[in-house]
């Protein structure tokens, strides 16, 4: 027990230490030192997380929920009872191990990828801070600490999105991400209020025990508000518009925060709050439907977008849609399983994309990429492994987890079947857009940049430009740095990508139906009392039928992509012409940005302008100030000869006035 607590605190605090060392010592740490420090603390954190896992497994099953309290944080008599405390149970440990593991590799990748960037120490300080915040979120033992972690990851995400802050596109994207995340925080806080009103405690385990004390109206309202928090963080419709813009950050940041870890926080939240959601089936249904909607809509956008990182971002949204759908339907283990495999293959895809983008000297448009297969064989291999896993081709990791999600949701029966149908359709689309990327980037006649690389020279732009706005970069600050690094020439990048590629292949094998099912047993103590954990057991026919269907769809999707983008490139144009309205809809991202803009941003700005230009001047200044000021002006015109005289006059007036009032009252008394 003690060792579990010790390891939990160490896991949490090591990244914070890294953040402080890099943040405070940025003038002392030379060269790649910040990168080594940042990666080393993460490795330490990962080791502690694994030790924590072993220590927890040593405990008997019914005692695998350990609470570690540091101090009272916000405790009032007869009211709130927030302590600074951690909750270590199989769910949080599993998340912690996955997150620290993937984070270590992404830090390792960044050592090379970001070297040459003048904000190097700042970068690692932020990245360490992010991991600390994420672990705080995952290990939180009370609503208060969860909210703190929740907001910290939002802040870290903001800082890293606008890391290249000389780009106005980056600072605008950061602000958008932050504000939408604050909206999520608001949902979370308000949801907490509804639940706390009934339970009278902010402690997770006690809240779950007293969930019966919450009125069903409050519980549904509270859970829906928690979902708003989850949607904002996990980029689910309609709060998803910040995620594509978040690709302004450096690519490893996209891999870590906007693919593998932070954006899955919503999934974790729903899984963690299962005792609440199971009592509020309407709220859970909202989650399942929104997840389903998101997974489909974002996949359609992924089909037409041309920015390499944004395609992967939309695929992230789509995959998180699967997870949200799963955990909202009671398929907790399946949802967490998909989170875990997704962390490997999506981080891998981003890293490989980063390598390609470096070879393109920062350009992200796939229209300009072509034929990188021979120039970058290692990157190509990694991208294909990640792509196969994402598309759900057996026996890659994504295949097992996606099919488990769909089988479990299908086992709920009823209207959940409709969700599963959409899930399978989207699985097909996923394979198509994934291989659209691969065929267009790596196959065909090499582009000039690919040629240059084949001749042994890494392309450099004469005038570095912002890939989004086309604006020339402000080069005097040195970030983004003038150097680019590709996996073929940087060992740390190769190690990180190689290990992740291995994970993208084998990670799914821990949970093969009827064969291993290790994750199911491991997470058992967390979900032991869950109704759905008991009830949902897809039959063998459902399981294996689903797997067969998934395999066929993914291979069919790849075949279609091959046909369209390799065999008959004319088809793409024809399709676009034939389905013009649909293409416009997809290419404009279903007009979500425009809708949010019309609904919230513009009315807000209008109100601000009205307050600024009309109300303040006419009403406040005119009515409340103008009148009395004018009066006194007139009265004091006589003594207004000199400024000091002016002040004296007022002082005298005040004294006289005060004396008069005092006198009047004393006479009355």
């Amino acid at each position: 027990m003690t060792s579990v607590k010790t390891f939990a605190w160490l896991t949490l605090l090591l990244p914070l230490a890294g953040c402080l060392i890099n943040g405070l010592g940025f003038r002392l740490l030379r060269g790649r030192m910040p990168g080594y420090v940042g990666t080393a603390v993460l490795l330490g954190s990962f080791v502690c997380a694994v030790l924590m896992l072993f220590a927890l497994q040593d405990l008997p099953e019914e005692r695998r929920q350990v609470e570690a309290v540091a101090w009272e944080y916000m405790t009032l008599k007869g009211s709130v009872d927030a302590k600074l405390m951690l909750l270590v149970d199989p769910l949080s440990v599993f998340m912690t191990v996955t997150i620290t593991g993937v984070s270590t590799l992404i830090h390792l990748y960044s050592i090379s990828y970001l070297s040459g960037d003048r904000g190097y120490a700042r970068y690692f300080s932020y990245l360490n801070f992010f991991v600390f915040s994420m672990l705080l979120l995952i290990l939180a033992g009370s609503f208060m600490i969860l909210i703190v972690g929740w907001a910290f990851v939002g802040a870290a995400s903001y800082l890293l999105i606008s890391y290249w802050y000389r780009r106005e596109t980056a600072t605008a994207a950061g602000m958008k991400a932050f504000v939408i995340n604050v909206l999520g925080d608001v949902g979370l806080v308000l949801g907490t209020f509804f639940i706390f009103r009934g339970t009278g405690t902010l402690d997770f385990l006690e809240s779950f025990e007293r969930v019966g004390d919450v009125s069903s109206g409050d519980l549904t309202a509270g859970c829906i508000l928690l979902l708003i928090g989850a949607f904002a963080k996990s980029a689910q419709i309609p709060l998803h518009t910040w995620l594509p813009d978040a690709m302004e950050g450096p690519t490893p940041v996209s891999a870590l925060i906007h693919a593998a870890t932070m954006v899955t926080a919503g999934v974790y939240l729903i899984a963690r709050m299962w005792p609440l959601f199971e009592q509020a089936p309407n709220a859970a249904a909202v989650g399942a439907i929104v997840g389903c909607l998101t997974l489909f809509v974002s996949a359609t956008i992924g089909l037409v977008v041309t920015d390499l990182k944004r395609i992967i971002a939309y695929s992230t949204m789509s995959q998180i849609g699967y997870m949200v759908m799963a955990v909202s339907s009671g398929a907790y283990v399946a949802g967490i399983f998909h989170f875990y495999t997704h962390a490997f293959f999506k981080a891998l895809l981003f890293m490989a994309a980063g390598s390609v983008i470096a070879a393109m000297a920062g350009v992200q448009n796939i229209d300009r990429m072509r034929g990188f297969r021979t120039a970058m064989p290692f990157t190509f291999g990694c991208f294909v492994v990640g792509g196969l896993s994402l598309a759900g081709v057996p026996p890659f990791a994504g295949f097992f987890s996606k099919d488990e999600v769909l089988a479990y949701v299908a086992d709920r029966g009823d209207w959940h079947i409709a969700l599963v149908v959409v899930g399978y359709v989207t699985a097909f689309i996923t394979a198509v857009y994934t291989f659209r990327m691969i065929f267009r980037v790596f196959f065909g006649e090499p582009s000039p940049e690919a040629r240059e690389l084949e001749d042994g020279h890494l392309h450099h732009a004469d005038v570095p430009t912002n890939p989004v706005s086309g604006e020339a970069e402000d080069t005097d600050v040195g970030f983004p740095g003038p150097e680019h690094h590709i996996a073929e020439r940087a060992l740390p990048m190769r190690i990180a990508m190689g290990l992740l590629a291995l994970g993208a292949i084998v990670a799914g094998w821990i949970q093969i139906p009827n064969v291993t099912e290790a994750l199911d047993h491991f997470l058992e103590p967390t979900f032991a009392e869950s109704r759905f954990h008991e009830e949902l057991h897809p039959s063998d026919a459902l399981t294996f039928g689903g797997m067969a269907l998934g395999a066929v769809l993914s291979i069919a999707g790849i075949a279609v992509a091959y046909l369209i983008w390799m065999k008959r490139p004319a088809i793409a144009t024809t399709l676009r012409e034939r389905f013009r309205p649909l293409h416009t809809l997809f290419a404009n991202k279903w007009y979500a940005d425009e809708a949010l803009d019309r609904l919230f941003v513009r009315p807000g700005a209008w109100f601000g302008r009205f307050a600024q230009h009309t109300f303040e001047r006419v009403v406040v200044d005119g009515l409340f100030v103008g009148g009395p000021v004018g009066l006194v002006r007139a009265g004091s015109a006589a003594v207004r000869s000199r400024q000091s005289g002016f002040l004296r006059a007022y002082a005298a007036l005040m004294v006289l006035g005060l004396a008069g009032v005092v006198l009047w009252f004393l006479l009355r008394a």
Partner: protein, 502 residues
């Protein structure tokens, strides 16, 4: 431990007198030592105060004017303890800042510091006073130095206009409050036998509801003007533009809090019926302040006014907490008062530093891109900004959490609308941070990092913000036995059914 509150109260003023007599170069330092002494005193109080009882401690009680029943009564309890610490810390910081600016920037420095020191004593007096008339006296006294500080040392030609506005608003408020205070004593004595203005005595007498109502309105007017709250904030923009920076910082950080404090010290315990009657009105004013202040803050480009309107919004939250008439809300309000004061002073200093880097312009449009050459300034500003927008993990969030929960329990719709203010705060603070620190370097901007002297003031303040963020329980614990009783009676009257359930 015996601590004499009179020493604490008059120490700064005494130092101010000495500052008038010493050479110009060291007058600032003399005033600083005086305020530092008061700060040490308040830290001693913080450590020594026995929070378990929540009672009034270290009481000094002398009959001042026997015929009128006015006492010179001072005391400390959980309600003013944290605010005393805030006031002394902020005055120390601002006087230090002014002293470090050097006297070449300012004519007649001795008078300047004497006025600052007098303002310090007056604020402490208002916070310590346990007699209604003594409170009113100090409350009015604390404004006088600010007229002179603004009128004489304020930059720009508009200062006369600004002082006029400030003065008129204040005069109206003060007169109303004075009348209300006298009426309270007189009307209470009609029922009792001896006229008294001692607060603890007045609390024992319940005034008739009709009298309570108009007295309440007079006090509320005075306090709302001082905060300032929408729509009586008309003096604020001009005032904020023209005050000298250290004066403005301390004015914004401390004086508005005395008004909030006044509500809990005087209004809710003495006029519970009226507080319950006007609860909805006050909550709506608070809500309007939040929304209006935020909307103004995210449209204006003048940095001082962004902070000014953000104060309107933040004070709206504090008022919301007080008039939730709920123990949690009131405790949140006091915590938030401390937090807001703590972030406001460094924010104003940073805005001053930014203006200095933008060729003297206060306008956001002239700023930008400083972060790269000024990483320390950027980091400090980031922490201050995030605390100001009440990011969870800051003590400001804890305050807001309690305030909103208090309102949530009494008027749920108002609480939900008030959450908009949380969202808008992130918009205006980030907008300011980004446009000052990030993006391209502004045309006339000379990006340099802070000087050692700037850091000497800023770093300790930011350290206090971080410390409080880690352990907000400390101020909460000190107040938890004193603050809820101040709103208990009014809360019971406002919502009899809810109290019955508990």
């Amino acid at each position: 431990m015996t601590l004499h509150l009179s020493i604490m109260l008059w120490l700064p003023a005494l130092a101010g007198l000495v500052a008038l007599l010493v050479p110009r170069a060291i007058s600032g330092w003399v005033a600083f030592v005086g305020s530092l002494g008061a700060l040490a005193y308040s830290v001693a109080l913080l450590v020594d105060y026995d929070a378990a009882t929540g009672s009034l401690q270290y009481v000094t009680d002398e009959t001042w004017i026997e015929q009128l029943g006015i006492h010179y009564k001072l005391g400390v309890d959980g309600l003013n303890l944290a605010l005393l610490a805030l006031a002394t810390l902020m005055f120390s910081a601002c006087i230090l800042w002014a002293a470090l600016e050097g006297d070449h920037r300012r004519e007649r420095p001795r008078q300047f510091f004497a006025w600052m020191a007098l303002a310090h004593s007056a604020v402490l007096g208002a916070l310590l006073a346990q007699d209604l008339l003594l409170f009113v006296l100090f409350f009015d006294l604390m404004l006088v130095p600010f007229f002179f500080l603004t009128g004489i040392w304020g930059p720009g030609p508009d200062r006369v206009r600004a002082v006029t506005k400030l003065f008129i608003y204040t005069l109206v408020g003060s007169l109303l409050m004075l009348a209300a205070a006298i009426a309270t004593g007189v009307l209470s004595s009609v029922q009792g036998d001896q006229t008294t203005f001692v607060l603890s005595e007045l609390e024992k007498v319940a005034l008739p509801e009709g009298s309570q109502r108009w007295i309440f309105l007079c006090f509320a007017a005075a306090f709302l003007v001082k905060m300032p709250a929408f729509p009586v904030h008309g003096w604020m923009p001009d005032g904020y533009r023209t005050m000298p920076l250290p004066v403005l910082a301390v004015f914004s950080a401390v004086l508005s809090k005395v008004a909030a404090y006044g509500f809990l010290r005087v209004v809710t315990p003495l006029f519970p019926d009226a507080s319950a009657d006007f609860q909805t009105l006050m909550l709506l004013i608070a809500l309007a302040s939040i929304l209006y202040g935020s909307a103004m803050a995210f449209t204006t480009t003048e940095t001082r006014l962004i902070l000014g309107y953000s104060s309107v919004a933040q004070l709206g939250f504090i008022t919301l907490g007080i008039f939730s008439l709920d123990g949690d809300g009131a405790q949140g309000a006091i915590l938030q008062s401390v937090n807001h004061g703590l972030v406001t002073v460094p924010a104003f200093f940073i805005v001053g530093l930014l203006a200095a880097r933008a060729g003297g312009s206060q306008d956001l449009r002239d700023m930008g891109g400083v972060a790269f050459r000024a990483p320390i300034l950027a980091a400090l500003f980031l922490i201050v900004s995030l605390a100001t927008l009440a990011m969870p993990g800051s003590a400001n969030f804890v305050g807001e959490f309690l305030i909103l929960f208090g309102v949530f329990e009494t008027k749920i719709v108002i609480a939900i609308v008030a959450f908009t203010g949380v969202l808008l705060a992130s918009v205006y603070m980030l907008r300011m941070f980004i446009r000052a620190m990030h993006n391209r370097v502004g045309a006339g901007v000379v990006p340099t990092d802070i000087r050692f002297a700037d850091g000497l003031v800023l770093v300790p303040l930011v350290a206090v913000i971080v410390a409080l963020a880690l352990y907000p329980q400390m101020p909460l614990e000190k107040g938890q036995n004193t603050i809820p009783p101040k709103v208990e009676e009014a809360g019971r009257l406002a919502q009899p059914e809810r109290q019955a359930i508990r």
